[in-house]
Structure formats: structure tokens, C-alpha cells
Amino acid sequence: MAALLAGSRVGAARAAARRGPLVSCRRWAGAAADTVYDVVVSGGGLVGAAMACALGYDIHFHDKKILLLEAGPKKVLEKLPETYSNRVSSISPGSATLLSSFGAWDHICNMRYRAFRRMQVWDACSEALIMFDKDNLDDMGYIVENDVIMHALTKQLEAVSDRVTVLYRSKAVGFTWPSPISMADSSPWVHVTLGDGSTLQTKLLIGADGHNSGVRQAAGIQNVSWDYDQSAVVATLHLSEVTENNVAWQRFLPSGPIALLPLSDTLSSLVWSTSHEHAAELVSMDEENFVDAINSAFWSDANHTDFVDSASTMLHYAVAFLKPTKVSARQLPPSVAKVDAKSRVLFPLGLGHAAEYVRPRLALIGDAAHRVHPLAGQGVNMGFGDISSLVHHLRTAAFDGKDLGSMSHLTGYETDRQRHNTALLAATDLLKRLYSTSATPLVLLRTWGLQATNAVSPLKEQIMAFASK
């Protein structure tokens, strides 16, 4: 890293030879190449761009210089395409609040999104189901295409371009971290080298560069990770008939969960997590077979066993006896007629969690800090939650005139989010493992567990509250 830094200075023919690799930038008259930013966000995906927006629109950051680095080109959405994109996210109400705090939600509302009020989650191996719905007519969540969210964020970033600079096609390739003991002539900032050789400095670097985060690796932060032996297949599906389509459906098959997320009155998005082989088959089979496979996955009771069925009926009667109010009956999701050509894609799944979210002058957010299975629809929401927490800590620090890269408030962010994220990651992983089997004892356990949870409303409400942050 020091060599990279020295190398990029040679061309400038300064007195670099006299000094050590970490040079004090105050000696450089008009060193435009080495601008000192207050915050640099590395990675312009959904979470990185939202972070830059949140800072750009925050009143306490009006005086600060913010930079967003995105390796890819700027994605311009001239006109909203007729066909829906196959990559969608389930946005929780908490995330929607964050997005509306800097005006991005308005753009999304003007484009398209789908609110859902209910969620049915059930087992393929038994009759057990859990139905989440909000009595007070609030939305449980929103299904939004990732492209739509990205476009809304890009638009909002353009509107604050005087405070937030966005560099496209710019990837951070080298980093020099501040030394732990403040040395006499060394710049205390983080030095970042870009792909084109230019360098810049920042008081705080935020790593939002995804689960293979270069920032995290360069900082040497340990990452606990494993690959699930599963891939997710996504597709845009046409329903057989027009329906109200405001329910999210998820069924746990032994091979993995299959989910149907509403997009419009006639369209839904598919997320089917299954083994790598099965996923490859699904993506390559012809359309008719694919549609049949989906319908059968949701409707077929082939995995039921009499034993578990009777056991669950027993508990069902017990619950009905103790709690004679309405007991949810299993409903069937709408049937699928067609799939959008070319919308079938697969991607591998895994889990990841960074041992540390922060270092002096460094914070990780989004998938760079944690990677989760899509079965709970929480991935991007955890990232947005990270943003809310980090912005809260940073704005307090800014209003107190603090050095933004100081560990004193960064550790506050880390504690907040590790607490929340670890719980969710562990729960999601546990659910994934629990539902990956058709072994009778585990099926019985989870059947009764699911039925019991469905019967205890306060517990369900807690779950919904946690997931909608």
C-alpha cells in the first residue's frame, strides 16, 4: 500500500524522495489530487448510495465534503420499462421511513411498488402455517424492484451534487490506514487509491462494497462466512387470473423455501432457494415445466406424513379450544400461468458476518458487514438499518464538533447493529437449517412450533415489529 502511494506521487515531482511513504499533505501547495473528504462511501449499490443520500440531506452535514465511489457506470433510467425487473426487494416500513427522510420514497411512489398487508408462511411437510397480518390496516412491507430504488437514489444524489460528489467507474483499489500512534509528520487520514491511480484522503471511510468487500479485506477484519449449498432462482411470473395480490407467500420445502411476492394485480416475483443442481434445472427447463414446478411446489401435499398430520391436528384442536377466536385456515397462493422470458436467473447463497464493523476511521455497512439468506426478506433492510444507526451517531458527532473518524462514536454504531444483526442472522440461519429436512422429529418440532407461534399473537407482533425496523 505504501508503495502504491509513493508510486502515485513520483509523477508530481515533489520532494517525495526526502520523506517517508506517508507524507503530510499540508506541504503540497494546491494538491488537488489529495482532497481531504469528510466521508467517503466505497460502493454505490442500494446501501452505499442510500448512505451517501442520508448524509447529503442531513442538516448537520451541510458543511462537509462527501464522496461516493461506484465501480460501475451510472445507470440512467430514461423511462420505466414495461417489463418488471427480476431483482426485487422486500422493503420494511422502517426502511421506507429512511428512504422518505431524504425524498427517495416519493420517487419510488411515482414509479411503481407494491404494498402487501399479509404474509403466509407454511410448511410443505405438514399443515402448520403462520399468518402475519396487521390488524390496523398498515402495510407490512413493500415489494420494489431494485432498479427502481436505485433510480430514486440516483435522482436524489443528483439534487445534492454540491455536497455529495459521485464518481462512477471509480473503484477503490488501495488503502492506507492511519497509524495507531499519531506520528509527527504522518497524515492522520485514510488514503484511498483509485483504479486510475489518483489518490484521495478521508476522515471516515464507509465500506458498502458488498459481501466480498475489498475494504473489509484490506482492513484485515475477520469475516465468518459459509456458503449454503443452495442457489436462489428468481423470475417474474404472470398469474392465471387478476387478483388483489397483496399477500406475500412463502412455503418451506425440504429443498428450500419458495416465495411469491406481489408486484401488480397480474404479476408476482419468484424467489426459490433450492439445491444448486435443482436451481440449474429450473433455469434451463422449458417454460411449461417451470410453471408446473412452481404450482406444484405451492400446492402439492406430497411431503405430508399421516403421523405429523395427526399430531398437528391435535395441537390445532387444543389451540382452538383455548383460543376460540378465529384460527387461520391455510390459503392457497394464486396459480401461475406464464413466466417472463429471460427473467429466470440464479445466484448462489451464503451467510457472512464481519467480526468487527468498525475500525478507527472505518465503518462497514450492508452486505460488507453481513450476508443473510433471503428467506426472511431482510437483507437490504438490515443494510438500511445500519444506515439509520450510523447516520444517527455521525450527526450527533458532527453537532458536537467531533472528528468523524473517532472510535468513540463508531463503537456505538457497532454495538447497536451487531446486537440487532447477530440475532436476525442467527434466527434466519436456524430457520434455514430447521426447514431443510424432512426428518420426522424435526418436522414435528417445527410444526408444533409454528402452530404455537401462530396462536400467540403477542409473539407474532414482536416478530413483525422486529422485522419492520
Partner: protein, 254 residues
């Protein structure tokens, strides 16, 4: 002073020997900021103290000077120890924005009273009056350099048995929270004494609040108890017309 000389290069280590002073910023900066904001009609977002001129007396390595600069104020930090100013100067030089807003000088308050009469919106004397030889003169100098209506902020240590036991014996000699020899108990000032000196020199005391340090968490907290550390805010009274002038003056004005 000798103690400060030896530790001049350790100012900016947040976990080092000056850690308690770093965490004291969590109380001092909001205290100064909020009291000054009361006097500004519309403040600029992001730079709430923009337009204010502040003097930080006994600034040391600039621990309190820099946050005030970041909040938009023009700050001059003075300290009699050249090594401290050197450290402070070097530290702020890396930040182009702070470099513009903050200026450091090696001198004492008495030396600049003449040239800076009535120029400052605020004077900060944080952890300073317990080291000063002649408190009365010091306060008078503060008065002179303040604009009318300007604020004086002081944080210091009370002179009590408790402050001897905890502030000297425990903090310095036993736990090493404060470097040995930093403080002399005889020079500690009680809030009552400070208040009377302030009031008799034209500075109206607005607030006196106790501060408590938790050595386990490393954090400071506000407290009703001023027997250890405390903070005070006083405002320079606008000029009052002396009695003789009113009698000699034009009776029609009344």
C-alpha cells in the same frame, strides 16, 4: 508546566494519558455550543457557530479548540507552553478547513489583552484557572477581551476535602488518571469564590453545574454536585452608565 512539557506529544491519543480530557468534550462542547446558540438568531446549518470569534485560553494540544472550529467558529488558541502549541499546530494542519478557522499562539492571556480588547464573542478557560497564580487579574483580562454580552466559559476543580482525596490522591497518585504533579490543591477554586470574583468584575454568572468522571467507563456526566469538577458560564454585562454621568447629562433624555 513541566508536566505538560513532558507529555506534549501525547495530546491526541484518545486512549492515552489525556483520555479524560477527550471525553470531557462530550460535556464541554455542547455546554459552550448551546449557550452560544441562544445568542444567535439564525444559525447556518452545519456550521452553527459560524461568525463567532472565540478565544481558547490554555488550549494545550487543541483538544477543545478543534471541535469549536469544526462547528464554524473562528478560534484563537493560546498556551504558554511552546511544545503544546507546536503539537496543536501540527495536528490542525492536516485538515484544510480547520487550518483556516483555527489559529494558535504561544503566549499568556495578559500578553494579548491590549491588542484583542473587546474582540471575542466567547472566551474559554477550561481546566485553566486551577493553574493560574492570580485569579483576579486573569478574570479581569478575560473581561477586557470579551465583547459586551460575550460569554466566559470556565471548567475547573473545586477546593474541597473530596477533591483532595479523589482529585489528587486517587487520580494522580493511586490510579494515574491524571499525571502526577498536574494539580496543586491550594490552587483549586470553589464555585462560590469563582462566582464572587466573576460578579465583582462585571461578569454575570448564568450557570454553575457539577461534572462527575466515571473512571470505569471513561465518561463524564453532569451532576448537581459541584464538590469535584464543575463548569460555569458567565456573561459580560453591557456597559452601565456610571451615576455621575447621568446627573451631568441632559435631563431631557430622561
Amino acid at each position: 508546566m513541566k508536566t505538560f512539557l513532558a507529555l506534549a506529544h501525547r495530546w491526541w491519543d484518545e486512549q492515552g494519558v489525556y483520555a479524560p480530557l477527550h471525553s470531557m468534550n462530550d460535556l464541554r462542547v455542547p455546554f459552550i455550543r448551546d449557550n452560544l446558540l441562544k445568542t444567535i438568531a439564525n444559525h447556518q446549518p452545519g456550521k452553527p457557530l459560524s461568525g463567532m470569534k472565540i478565544l481558547d485560553v490554555g488550549c494545550g494540544g487543541g483538544l477543545l479548540t478543534e471541535p469549536l472550529g469544526r462547528l464554524g467558529a473562528s478560534v484563537i488558541g493560546i498556551d504558554p507552553v511552546a511544545e503544546n502549541i507546536k503539537t496543536a499546530q501540527r495536528h490542525k494542519s492536516f485538515d484544510p478547513v480547520l487550518d483556516q478557522r483555527v489559529e494558535y499562539r504561544v503566549c499568556s492571556l495578559e500578553e494579548i489583552v491590549e491588542e484583542t480588547a473587546e474582540t471575542f464573542d466567547a472566551v474559554i478557560a477550561s481546566e485553566v484557572v486551577e493553574h493560574v497564580i492570580d485569579l483576579e487579574t486573569f478574570i479581569q483580562c478575560c473581561y477586557q477581551v470579551l465583547k459586551p454580552g460575550g460569554s466566559l466559559f470556565i471548567t475547573t476543580i473545586n477546593k474541597t476535602q473530596l477533591s483532595y482525596a479523589l482529585g489528587i490522591v486517587f487520580s494522580e497518585q493511586i490510579a494515574g488518571i491524571v499525571p502526577k504533579g498536574t494539580h496543586t490543591w491550594e490552587k483549586f477554586v470553589s464555585p462560590e469564590k469563582l462566582e464572587s470574583i466573576l460578579e465583582s468584575n462585571g461578569l454575570s454568572v448564568q450557570t454553575v453545574a457539577g461534572m462527575i468522571y466515571n473512571p470505569f467507563s471513561g465518561c463524564w456526566h453532569w451532576s448537581g454536585n459541584t464538590s469535584l469538577n464543575y463548569a460555569a458560564h458567565a456573561v459580560k454585562q453591557e456597559h452601565t452608565v456610571p451615576a455621575e454621568l447621568v446627573l451631568k447629562g441632559d435631563t431631557e433624555e430622561l
